[in-house]
Amino acid sequence: MIVYVIIFSILSILLIASAIYAVVQKDLLIAVISTGVISLILSVFFYLMHAPDVALTEAAIGIALTTIIFVITIRNTTRNEDESIDNNLDKF
């Protein structure tokens, strides 16, 4: 029981921290990777709450596919959130 309390508290702190980082970060590529971290922690949450089906779906779709379509979009648009600074970041 005490183990569950510690795991849930640490995971929820990590979840909120990565969500805030995804919103605040100016480099969109780092923000997208941070969104992937949210999905990863969420999938652990689902597993701990006895929903293995949902955990598997979140792992396959939320972590892999959603992240890659965001990365493809950034490749075709821009990597800076403000678009005012130099475009050296854009080449990847």
């Binding site: 029981m1 949210i38 709450m49 929903a51 949902v54 648009t77």
Partner: protein, 126 residues
Amino acid sequence: MYNLELQNNLITTSVYGSAIALILIGLYAVLVKKNLIKIVIGLSIIDAGIHLLFVAIGYIKGFTAPIFSPGSENLANKMVDPVPQALVLTAIVIGFATTAVALSLVIRLYKHHNTARIDQIKSLKW
């Protein structure tokens, strides 16, 4: 720390609290940010929070996953609620489809206006 009620409260706060925090953070990104990709990221964060909330409502303490395995066929009384799980399963896949369509619209908009910021798009004609 070994108090049982305090432990229960901590788990409740961490699950419901992080779900509500995700919804609020996503809403903030949608309302304040100007970059379209940031707005779509905010929408997917709201999605994640709502999925967590749904599964948390179906959870029952001390029960097992809703799968009959050999040797535990008579445990139908000891299983968590399967209905929210089925709904969330559907919602995750649909969420991926809507995110893909939204991002393709962002790409299209960027090609026309050469910007992905909504405050710099001057003309409304495509």
